[in-house]
């Protein structure tokens, strides 16, 4: 007897544009979720999954589109509306509060009361214990939240939405920081919830989870819906292909350049942060030569930004071991003043808060690295600066003049400001991270062109990016990082997205020897 689950809710033709750019977070996305199913939403970073779910949970509002529950259109404009519809979301970054125990965290905002005025902590603890038993999410209600492991903290988050009566559970990257065992327990929990009639949506990029636990999967890419299918009828490779796409969208003209000597040599670089069960970075080894672009590919959350921070002296957490040798000095976690003096150029992922200072004007932003040379007897040489700035504005086609505040500029122009400043030093080492994040096509092409020019001038370039297209278009060599470790190093000849995607998603991994070969090639 075939039982067909009725459709619980649908999201139709959802459009959402990021404010400021003309980049679509969601473009014409349709989602249909059945009652009592476990539905996975997969896609690479930037695919729009989280935005779609935030719209469902009332934390964002769509520019276009409709949401229907049981066939009837609804408006979800606030977390309260979502609550009424019994939707609860567990965010990627936990909303837990230090200084409170587990029970407090679960019941916050819907606290049980004693005599109307007082918080009934005993009732809260009892309720949480009940829920823990009922849903097989055992946590000690009286334990201070700081003492919990990541896996236990996640249980608390789930308990919270269950406590609030949510029947539709949206979980954003729930297993990102869990150990293998914790993930197993987590799946048991999900199955149990499903058997109790809950509808569960998981946002993930981990294909094991998708095939293991979901009934249906919706694949998104670049803000658009690719397909929705029954999990049992797809295989991992098929899903990966859908996530990552077949065609190479980007073609960049790269002249032949013979790599020179090794400029940056990373050896067994590791980063451990207290509170996390596994190292954030583990034994990273890589070398980058003059005139070569080494691309570091990975899904966001696997260590890309931590690597960026450790190599540029901007890391603020944990202990670093191992080394990154640049001009004979170990720059791992060194102070930026040293690293800059040695001639590293750095285009950060966060161009708004790190790469530029919004309230300062263009000239102030542009002379950040050069101002020592433009000073005589403590005074900045105005004429020289204006000429320098004019030159850069012209070369990099930046709208505005030297006194324009950076806050007036568009994203594309802001990135040009960063590039012009960093590249004009003729550096011998360049670390560039997420260079075209949030940029339109024209600006992106300009960025790629400039990076290739740097390569021709024999700069050693480390490209860190979650955008597989650009890694493939630009890199001579590609290293894939997964869960803080390098799982593969390849020469970029005939590499395709699908195979790289499998390494990025942890489906495949090279042996130590293969990696070593790749590094030395």
């Amino acid at each position: 007897m075939a039982t067909e689950s009725p459709v619980l809710f649908e999201m139709e033709n959802i459009h959402k544009i990021y404010e400021g750019n003309n980049v679509y977070a969601n473009k014409g996305v349709n989602l249909s979720v059945n009652k009592g199913e476990i539905h996975a939403i997969v896609g690479e970073n930037g695919a729009g999954k989280t935005t779609l779910m935030k719209i469902l949970c009332g934390l964002e509002s769509p520019d276009e589109g409709e949401i229907r529950f049981n066939g009837k259109p609804v408006t979800i404009r606030s977390a309260h509306d979502a609550d009424t519809l019994e939707i609860g979301m567990v965010h990627q970054h936990f909303c837990l509060f230090d200084g409170f125990n587990v029970a407090d965290n679960v019941v916050l905002v819907q606290e049980p009361r004693k005599n109307g005025l007082f918080y009934d902590s005993a009732a809260a603890a009892m309720k949480v214990e009940e829920l823990g038993i009922k849903y097989n999410l055992p946590v000690d209600p009286k334990a201070p939240i700081e003492t919990l492991s990541v896996g236990e903290k996640q249980k608390v988050e789930i308990l919270r939405i269950l406590y609030r009566g949510s029947k539709i559970l949206v979980l954003d990257e729930p297993t990102a920081l869990l150990t293998e065992q914790e993930i197993k327990d987590f799946f048991v929990t999900l199955r149990q919830l499903k058997s109790l009639g809950y509808t569960i949506i998981i946002i993930t990029h981990k294909l094991d989870e998708v095939t293991e636990i979901s009934d249906r999967v919706t694949v998104m890419r670049n803000g658009e819906l690719v397909d929705c299918c029954i999990t049992a009828e797809c295989d991992k490779q098929g899903i990966a292909r859908m996530m990552v796409g077949k065609e190479v969208l980007l073609q960049v003209d790269k002249p032949d350049v013979t790599p020179g000597k090794t400029i940056l040599s990373i050896n067994e670089l590791s980063l451990t942060v207290p509170g996390f069960s596994r190292p954030i970075l583990k034994d990273i080894s890589l070398s980058i030569r003059e005139g070569e672009i080494v691309g570091m590919a990975g899904v966001s959350g696997n260590g890309l930004s931590d690597l960026e921070n450790v190599l540029t002296g901007m890391s603020s957490r944990g202990e670093v071991s191992g080394e990154a040798m640049f001009h004979g000095k170990n720059i791992a976690n060194a102070h930026p003043s040293e690293i800059r003096e040695m001639g590293m150029a750095y285009v950060p992922a966060d161009r708004l808060h790190r790469g530029t200072s919004a309230e300062l004007q263009l000239s102030d932003n542009l002379i950040l690295l050069e101002h020592h040379e433009m000073t005589r007897a403590g005074v900045l040489q105005g004429k020289g600066i204006v000429a320098f700035v004019k030159d850069l504005l012209h070369k990099y086609n930046i709208g505005g003049h030297h006194a324009t505040p950076v806050s007036n500029l568009s994203g594309g122009n802001i990135q040009r400001v960063v590039l012009s400043r960093e590249f004009s030093r003729e550096p011998n080492l360049l670390v560039v991270s997420e260079p075209t994040w949030g940029l339109d096509i024209v600006s992106s092409e300009f960025v790629y062109q400039k990076i290739v020019e740097m390569r021709s001038s024999k700069t050693a370039i480390l490209l860190i990016s979650a955008n597989l297209d650009e890694v493939l278009a630009l890199s001579d060599k590609v290293a894939v990082i997964y869960r803080g470790e390098i799982v593969g190093v390849f020469a970029n000849t005939d590499l395709d997205r699908e195979s790289l995607g499998e390494y990025m998603l942890g489906l495949k991994r090279q042996s130590k020897d293969e990696i070593q070969l790749g590094i030395e090639a």
Binding site: F94, C95, F97, D98, G99, V109, E111, Y119
Partner: protein, 305 residues
């Protein structure tokens, strides 16, 4: 009064009361993540209106109520501009301090045709209350008897504050907002409303703090608060925003102030130097606290929250 009374104890308790009240209120704000630097102005405001209303109505109760209402109004203005118009909370705090001083002078001129000290002979004042039996116990008598009503009220309020912060839903949400405002908003807490309420609470307690200054004196003197509101801020910080810490801090600074007053009358040390003592003591306390905290954190001895 018996032979074994220690005026130091009872004086310190009276003197520490404005500190305690202001710091208590300041703590509510601080716990919600807002540094309220207008404690001084709010106290002054109440100190002034206490005299105005008590003289007007002839009743202490009505006078105190009037002072509280006037100060709550000022606090509401402060909060409305800071939270509603999105103005810088520190600058708004400074503005509130100036407004309080200015209003006291302008209104004194308008109502009474004079500036400077305002005094009304025959106006009801706060008097020390002696509790029978207790007052004769050595030491304990000094601690628990012979203070004016507001001193006792301040103790009750401290206990209430501790209960509210630690055992009510409001207190929980208050703390949550202070710990992680973004997360609090994400789970449906109206952070701005909580912070505004905390601000009003601090206005209320500061009002009582101001009232006790002038209604014991029986007069309003310009700058009657003389920096207590600022020291209260430091007490909140040193007491780590906890009621016990604030109590201890208030006792310590109350004692320092008592010594300063005492030495002015009993010793030859010039008053100017003695008046500066509480301020420098506060700076020293801040520095010692920071040094100790950082050394302990480095050695991993400190719990982070």
């Amino acid at each position: 009064m018996n032979e074994l009374s220690f005026p130091a104890i009872s004086s310190t308790i009276v003197i520490m009361t404005p500190f305690l009240l202001a710091a208590m209120g300041g703590a509510f704000s601080a716990i919600s993540g807002v540094l309220n630097i207008a404690l001084e102005g709010l106290m002054l405001n109440a100190a002034f209106f206490a005299i105005v209303f008590t003289n007007l109505t002839g009743s202490l109760v009505l006078g105190i109520t009037g002072a509280i209402l006037a100060t709550l109004l000022l606090t509401a203005l402060f909060g409305a501009v800071a939270f509603g118009l999105k103005a810088n909370i520190f600058i708004c705090g400074l503005a509130t301090n100036f407004l309080a001083i200015a209003m006291s002078i302008v209104l004194a001129h308008t109502f009474y045709g004079r500036t400077g000290s305002i005094q009304f002979p025959g106006m009801p004042r706060l008097v020390p209350l002696n509790i029978p039996i207790v007052e004769n116990i050595p030491i304990l008598g000094d601690i628990f008897s012979g203070h004016n009503a507001i001193v006792y009220v301040s103790w009750v309020l401290l206990i209430i504050a501790a209960i509210v912060i630690n055992r009510t839903p409001f207190g929980m949400r208050l703390r949550a907002v202070g710990v992680n405002e973004k997360a609090a908003k994400a789970i449906g807490i109206n952070a701005k409303r909580i912070q505004f309420t905390a601000l009003l609470i601090s206005g209320f307690t500061c009002a009582l703090g101001g009232v006790v200054l002038t209604l014991t004196l029986g007069a309003f003197v310009p700058n009657v608060t003389s920096g207590r509101g600022w020291i209260a801020l430091v007490i909140v910080y040193l007491g780590r925003k906890k009621p016990i810490g604030i109590l201890i801090g208030s006792i310590v600074f109350g004692f320092v102030e008592y010594m300063s007053n005492n030495l002015q009358t009993t010793s030859d040390i010039p008053s100017g130097l003695l008046l500066s003592l509480p301020f420098f003591a506060t700076v020293v306390a801040l520095v010692v606290y920071s040094v100790v905290e950082q050394t302990m954190a480095k050695r991993g001895l400190l719990k982070t929250k």
